[in-house]
């Protein structure tokens, strides 16, 4: 099996005049992988994507696609967008309003001078894949947002590109449709084994669909890892805060136990046993979903329920405890009244020192 990375980015820097949008980043994407660039707006994720597509000229660095250098600083090659063989789904969908659905999807095949029969076979296949087969001959100017999105995806995969880039493709859809399309996109990507780089600012989306997530902030990469690793073992305050819901507890490490766990003393004097993260960390990141509201053997600290919010899929409690307030998420079956005295507890594995 060919294991050459589909996309490789080395020391990429992109500047707009004086501002540096992307500030020296490196990563590689293996065949068949779906990797997400996650970060707040302005972090450089879309710029990175556009540089890979060939729509943005980097300042320095190297970009390789399928082992071939498509852009390198200095005298290196500068392959234009249309010769890179990548495909892209745009945030605005970029559906050409003057063409029918069929013409939109056939576009990438037509410019490749493929026979008419082959084109219509391929277009029918991908339109069926995105469940738009019945719309082939519709004008594209009065499609709904979800339909435009499907056409945009069909168009992007129609000419069998080796790499598909997604620029916040779901951000213009409503929540329910977004959740559905997320599943469909992942399904499609798995089925066709399409190597994908996906840009989003929605952490939930990033965790749900990715093989790996690249968290970006201010033009730099904060962390690269599987969704589980990013969620369970954030390596910076930014990642812990941006991805998922976490409590940040200030304090300092007091000592190390014989079994290698550390003792963390909070500002208010509570002692917490922790097994993850940096030894010299001064902040403890604690996921809201990993806190129990029952006394357990380790890390049991008394508190009271200040506020309860029923979200349906979970209940969010605001707990008063010695170090201020804790956000705790419990399944909807664990219904407790506001004002009740409780004991919070959490495993030492789930406290990450930052």
């Amino acid at each position: 099996m060919n294991t050459t990375p589909r996309i490789e980015v080395f020391e990429l820097v992109v500047r707009y005049g004086e501002t540096t949008a992307v500030d020296g980043i490196d990563f590689a994407i293996a065949p068949g992988e779906l990797v997400t660039l996650l970060g707040p707006s302005g972090c450089g994720k879309t710029t990175t994507l556009r540089a890979i597509a060939g729509l943005e000229n980097p300042y320095t660095g190297t970009i390789r696609l399928n082992g071939e250098t498509v852009w390198a600083s200095g005298r290196g090659p500068k392959i234009p967008a249309e010769k890179r063989g990548v495909s892209m789904v745009f945030q605005s969908y970029a559906i050409w309003p003057h063409m029918t659905v069929y013409e939109n999807v056939a576009y990438g095949l037509r410019v490749r001078k493929i026979s008419k029969a082959e084109i219509s076979k391929n277009v029918a296949r991908v339109l069926d894949m995105v469940q738009m087969g019945a719309y082939a001959n519709r004008p594209s100017s009065n499609l709904s947002g979800g339909q435009q999105q499907r056409v945009a995806v069909a168009r992007a995969i129609a000419f069998s590109p080796t790499v598909v880039l997604f620029d916040e493709p779901l951000s213009n859809l409503d929540a329910k449709l977004r959740a559905e399309m997320r599943v469909e996109l992942r399904e499609l990507q798995r089925r066709l084994d399409i190597t994908s780089l996906y840009v989003t600012h929605d952490q939930e989306e990033a965790l749900a669909i990715s093989d790996r997530v690249i968290v970006m902030n201010a033009g730099k990469i904060e962390q690269i890892g599987s969704p589980e690793a990013i969620y369970n073992r954030p390596i910076s305050r930014f990642v812990a805060d941006f991805v998922g819901s976490a409590n940040m507890i200030e304090g300092a490490v007091k000592g190390v136990n014989a079994d290698g766990t550390m003792v963390f003393e909070t500002k208010a004097g509570s002692l917490i046993r922790t097994a993850a993260g940096k030894r010299d960390g001064t902040t403890l990141a604690l996921r809201s979903s990993y806190i129990h509201l029952r006394p357990d053997a380790v890390n049991a600290i008394p508190g009271t329920i200040h506020r309860r919010m029923f979200h349906g899929d979970f209940i969010q409690y605001v707990i008063d405890w010695p170090d201020g307030q804790l956000i705790v998420r419990r399944p909807p079956t664990e219904l407790l009244d506001e004002g009740s005295a409780i004991t919070v507890s959490f495993a030492e594995d789930h406290c990450v020192l930052l």
């Binding site: 060939g54 967008a81 249309e82 559906i95 050409w96 168009r155």
Partner: protein
């Protein structure tokens, strides 16, 4: 890499051709403006700034020009804006028909308008003033032979240009921007003031600048209505300088170039302002503008829309028609003597047929060859990252800033002084028309270019299309409304062209407008009315045919 070669060649060749067409006559103008020796010798034997110093000896002409152009621009933009808003954003009865009729004033031409309004409101003899006096008043209702009168006529006909440009930007505005304002509790008036106006402001601004430039270079109305009262604006002063004996080309060129400098500064400021506004209102999310419901207001609004058509088209044409059939122009019924003599005379002159055919040939070929070229120019200037595109925009816009008549002079000298024997042929007129209509085409197409979301083009590239393929399959089709508008505007501008034609037409390349001017200068107003009416009818027939064709083309592909 074939596509890159294409792009690599087309662009510099276009830049060179367009640059030469525009700058070559300008170079001649500049040299002769500094010529203080014998004005008919090229290159000049004596150099100096005397021609410019003489401008300040007659500040009245500059004052007159600015006065007329300002009044006329304000009026024209108001006409254009009100009509554009009513016809694109409100639901009035017969909206589509009105929108088609809005083209009519432009085809009328200021020359015909001026003749008609001269017939209508000339002092004492004007039909309107005759009627006014017959009601017992001792003075005129209005003297059209005045700065306000000239501005009025210019504004009526330039209002359509403003309308076309402003309505193009209104049509492509996302109605949800207005709706969200309404939902947030703003009244219709407030929404119009706070949302609609700022959104269309760039379109209105670019229309205003363009109209002002046209006004400065406007010749016909000031000529027909200003000369009798010895009220001169720059263009008529240039005409007088150039055609008096001995001709004072240097003085004419100095006047024209001074105006041109002022316009360059104005366009520069406008450019800075427009760069700060966002134009990307056509996004990949396709939408259709929805007109707003104005309730019972739709009847007064419909009245306003029809009122403009009546004043700009129906009234002048009625006056011309009446006059052309009379022995002496009058509205006093007992004095009327009807006759066909004026038409018989026009026919007998025998020059009208060839002039009309020549104008049609020129209009079709200049528009057909010009639109693709200008379309590519617009794309280079507003979309590409090519170095020098800012300079390029200035070069292309120069003919708008240089008064038409002066540009005509520059073209005359420029083409007489090169060893290609095209002076006095239609070729020269065609080249000249293309050059002077560059800004008209560029502005019209630019309005659409600026509003096409960039990702529509980028997507084509990512899909594997070369630059040329992207232009052919995505950019040009999206530009089509702008391109069709530009074709129509250039065709019509060519058919009615006067300022350049008076210098460049020869005995075997006569065109319509100068022929009518000759008649106005040398024969009666009744005869001129007959010729003007014939021209208008012919142009209207041509336009009707063309519209039918255009509708068929756009109808089948959509």
């Amino acid at each position: 890499m074939r596509s890159f070669d294409l792009r690599g060649w087309i662009v510099p060749i276009l830049v060179l051709i367009v640059g030469a067409l525009v700058l070559y006559p300008i170079a001649f103008l500049i040299t002769s403006s500094f010529n203080i020796g014998d004005p008919q010798i090229f290159p000049p034997e004596e150099w100096g700034a005397g021609n410019y110093i003489r401008l300040f000896e007659e500040p009245r002409i500059i004052g007159n020009t600015l006065l007329v152009a300002t009044i006329a621009t304000v009026l024209a933009v108001v006409f254009g804006f009100v009509q554009a808003w009513i016809l694109t954003r409100t639901e009035i009865p017969g909206r589509e028909r009105l929108e088609r009729l809005m083209e009519l004033p432009y085809y009328m031409t200021p020359l015909i308008g001026a003749l008609a309004w001269g017939v209508l409101l000339g002092p004492k003899t004007g039909l309107g003033n005759q009627a006014w006096r017959s009601l017992g008043f001792t003075s005129d209702f209005f003297n059209i032979y005045s700065p306000q009168g000239i501005a009025w006529v210019m504004a009526l006909f330039e209002g359509t240009v403003a309308f076309v440009m402003i309505s193009a930007s209104m049509k492509s505005m996302d109605p949800s921007l207005e709706e969200s304002s309404r939902v947030l509790g703003a009244s219709k008036l407030r929404t119009t003031m706070r949302i609609t106006l700022p959104m269309v402001a760039p379109g209105v601004l670019s229309a205003t600048i363009f109209v002002f430039a046209e006004m400065l270079g406007s010749f016909a109305a000031a000529f027909v209505l200003g000369i009798p009262g010895r009220f001169y604006v720059v263009t008529t002063a240039i005409w007088e300088s150039a055609l008096s004996y001995p001709p004072d080309y240097g003085h004419a060129a100095a006047m024209g170039l001074s105006l041109f400098g002022a316009m360059l500064i104005t366009l520069g400021i406008a450019r800075v302002i427009m760069r700060h506004g966002s134009y990307a209102t056509i996004t990949g999310k396709a939408f259709r503008p929805r007109p707003m419901d104005v309730g019972l207001m739709r009847y007064p609004l419909m009245g306003i829309a029809w009122g403009y058509i009546a004043v700009a088209v129906v009234l002048p044409l009625a006056a011309l028609t009446l006059t052309s059939f009379e022995r002496f122009a009058t509205v006093i019924i007992p004095q009327m003597q009807f006759t066909f003599a004026n038409y018989e005379m026009a026919y007998a002159m025998g020059s009208l047929g060839p002039a009309f055919a020549n104008s049609m040939i020129l209009g079709v070929s200049v528009a057909t060859l010009g639109v693709p070229v200008i379309g590519i120019l617009a794309w280079i200037i507003y979309r590409s990252t090519m170095p020098g595109r800012v300079l390029m925009e200035y070069v292309v816009m120069i003919p708008a800033a240089v008064p038409r008549l002066v540009f005509g002079l520059g073209l005359l000298w420029a083409w007489i002084n090169i060893p290609i024997p095209i002076y006095g042929t239609l070729w020269l007129l065609g080249i000249a028309y293309f050059t002077v209509f560059l800004p008209l085409g560029l502005r019209t197409i630019a309005g659409v270019v600026l509003q096409i979301d960039k990702s529509l083009e980028e997507c084509a590239r990512v899909c594997g299309a070369s630059w040329a393929q992207q232009m052919r399959t995505v950019t040009l089709p999206l530009l089509r409304p702008g391109l069709v508008a530009a074709w129509l505007l250039i065709f019509i501008a060519s058919v009615r062209e006067l300022g350049v034609s008076v210098f460049l037409m020869g005995p075997h390349s006569k065109v319509i407008a100068p022929s009518i001017v000759n008649s106005w200068l040398t024969a009666s107003s009744e005869l001129s009315a007959a010729m003007a009416l014939l021209q208008t009818v012919m142009v209207f027939i041509a336009v009707a045919i063309m519209f039918r064709v255009a509708r068929k083309v756009t109808g089948t592909t959509q």
